[in-house]
Amino acid sequence: MSTKEARHKYWQKNIFYLIILLTIWFICSFGFGVLWVDELNSIKIGGFKLGFWFAQQGSIYSFVIIIFIYVYLMNKLDNKYNTNQQDKK
């Protein structure tokens, strides 16, 4: 890693990704699954009430998606800041 500014920028960007992704994490689990579950339950998709579905299924799928988005974003960021970890095993 070259300069102090570059390091700082890299870290700021990392924090920015975290805030966005953790907000989505919160909404998909605590939001849809707990806080607004009654409102969402009035919508039905197939045999599922939507709030119930989020609490027992949807939240888990969204967790998986969030982690893979994070992996993708951070790998891109790592490449941009020019570190190739694959060579250094």
Partner: protein, 557 residues
């Protein structure tokens, strides 16, 4: 062939496989013993993490719990998976970058203090021991039911197997055995679920079948039918909760944060070659865990429907054979209160004649659904794989705490690698014996202690690690005070409301209406507040520690 013969064959084969792997992957150095040499591929580590994480409780008890709790069971589903988001985003990559062997290593180095390290060791030991006792008990129960040996003999057989590969192979042996155990347990979990889903709804995928119409041609959705059955019997609707929103919130958060703070899960991320792999590995782990966790609520709903339909108002003299089999283990009991010869299973306790232990749901599910004998045997092998893999991961944390964190880092820093490795083996051996003792003589509060393990991990490690990474100003005074007060507060609340110490207390007296299971969230917040406030009134950490934090935050290895 009968169930027992099938069980001997399948369990025997799986055990042979584990021992074979143990012999093949013996550890030659402390680095191999602690972190499998640091060269595990992300996918293998993901599978090992999943097996490590999914314990006897996940495999045997969780679907049953959800089956009886309905919507409220979501606290376990979200709590035990959502923590992986925190782990992947806020802990694993940075700790891998830090590049040591254990959680107390990080706490001790980041907070430049052996007091902090020792607090870390004590927390790691309490968390791991409470957890491991339950696993050994799970092994015993599966043996007792399926192989008809006494529970204690079952525990001892389990101890010998774990001893073999944990002591010989350390993290290296454990990792590759866990990969095999993941395959066994997920196969064992999915096969009956798919069979039952097809029987009930005609859909093979349980996650879809769960929200589909019943296959009986009535055109009713499974969940609607279940809600109606519940109403008829006086239970609250399956898809609606009974817990308060605040308590749901607190329990889910405590389990999530606790998951992210469990030392045996965190150390798995020290075994991959680099930071990039640590992130990827957390993703794989969650996918592999999600397969089981999204199937569990489907099994819960299927089993609940089958159970009510089979037993409600059935003639006791006509019940299927599984009912009698499980009655003899004491996990089902029936008292004919109104002497009409029929089973009344209703919400009203004065009229209810049937009590069912939650563990039956997964263990007896294949029998209830009349699946072939080999499927039932497979479930036994799966339950054992789940319990053994988690036990091994925990034993490793215990042995490393002793040989590395205590002996190498504090008592005898000049110890040779060979001697340290021997201590690690002795530590693992002792830990197996203590765990086996607790498995044979379970403390009466096992159920309470599992919640306690999560609460403690949430109240102690999580804030200390997160602040160590994200708050450069955090110093040893703040972190130690936070960990000690968070832990003591959690212990106090648990002892007061679960074990009725300190004058005891009832549900009405819960602080803010939060149950002991959810109190980890409060203790964690208290830890955060105390750590941050105290650190601002005490000297900042020395320059070299701030430099460590800078290094952790840089891109690259």
């Amino acid at each position: 062939m009968d169930i027992q013969t099938w069980t001997y064959i399948i369990v025997g084969l799986s055990f042979t496989l584990y021992i074979g792997i143990a012999l093949w992957s013996r550890a030659g150095s402390t680095k191999e013993f602690y972190v499998a040499g640091g060269g595990v591929s992300p996918l293998a580590n993901g599978m090992a993490t999943a097996a490590d994480w999914m314990s006897a409780a996940s495999f045997i008890s969780m679907a049953g719990l959800i089956s009886f709790m309905g919507y409220d069971g979501a606290v376990y589903l979200m709590g035990w998976t959502g923590g992986y988001v925190l782990l992947a985003l806020m802990l694993a990559p940075y700790l891998r970058k830090f590049g040591k062997f254990t959680v107390p290593d990080f706490i001790g180095d980041r907070y430049y203090s052996n007091v902090a390290r020792t607090v870390g060791i004590v927390c790691a030991l309490i968390v791991s021991f409470t957890y491991v006792a339950g696993q050994m008990r799970g092994v015993g129960v599966v043996f007792a039911r399926f192989l008809e040996v006494p529970v204690n003999t079952g525990v001892i057989i389990g101890m010998i197997i774990v001893f073999f590969y944990a002591v010989l192979g350390g993290m290296k042996g454990i990792t590759y055995t866990q990969v095999a155990q993941y395959c066994v347990l997920i196969f064992a979990y999915m096969v009956p679920a798919i069979f039952i889903s097809i029987q009930l709804t005609g859909e093979w995928l349980p996650q879809i079948g769960f929200g589909s119409e019943l296959a009986d041609g009535s055109g009713t959705y499974l969940l609607d039918k279940l809600d109606n059955l519940h109403k008829e019997l006086g239970f609250s609707a399956y898809t609606m909760g009974t817990k308060s929103t605040l308590d749901m919130f607190a329990i889910t958060l405590a389990l999530m944060v606790g998951t992210a703070g469990l030392p045996h899960v965190i150390v798995r991320f020290f075994t991959v070659p680099n930071v990039r792999d640590a992130r990827m590995s957390a993703g794989y782990a969650l996918v592999l865990i999600a397969i089981l966790y999204t199937t569990a609520p489907a099994i819960a709903a299927f089993a609940r429907t089958n159970l009510i339909e089979t037993v409600s108002n059935a003639e006791y003299s006509n019940v299927p054979s599984w009912f009698k089999n499980w009655e003899s283990t004491g996990l089902i009991s029936f008292t004919d209160k109104n002497a009409d010869g029929k089973i009344q299973y209703v919400a009203d306790a004065s009229q209810n004649e049937l009590t069912i232990d939650q563990d039956i749901i997964v263990l007896a599910n294949p029998e209830i659904a009349r699946l072939p004998n080999w499927v039932i045997a497979l479930v036994a092998a799966g339950g054992l794989a789940a319990a053994l893999s988690t036990a091994a991961g925990l034993l490793l944390v215990i042995s490393t705490s002793i040989s590395h964190d205590l002996i190498k880092k504090q008592i005898k820093p000049d110890i040779s690698d060979k001697a340290e490795l021997m201590w690690a083996r002795i530590g693992a051996g002792l830990a197996v014996i203590v765990a086996g003792y607790f498995g044979i003589n379970p403390p009466g509060f096992v159920a309470a202690t599992v919640a306690l393990a999560f609460g403690l991990a949430a109240a102690s490690f999580f804030p200390a690690i997160v602040l160590g990474i994200f708050d450069k100003r955090m110093n040893k005074e703040g972190a130690i005070a936070g960990m000690v007060i968070g832990t003591l507060l959690m212990l106090f609340y648990m002892i007061k409301f679960k074990l009725q110490g300190f004058g005891g207390g009832t549900e009405e007296e819960w602080w803010f209406g939060i149950s002991p299971e959810g109190f980890g969230s409060v203790a964690m917040l208290v830890n955060f507040v105390i750590s941050v406030s105290i650190s601002r009134f005490t000297p900042p950490p020395p320059a070299e520690v701030q430099a460590i934090v800078d290094t952790i935050r840089e891109p690259g290895d």
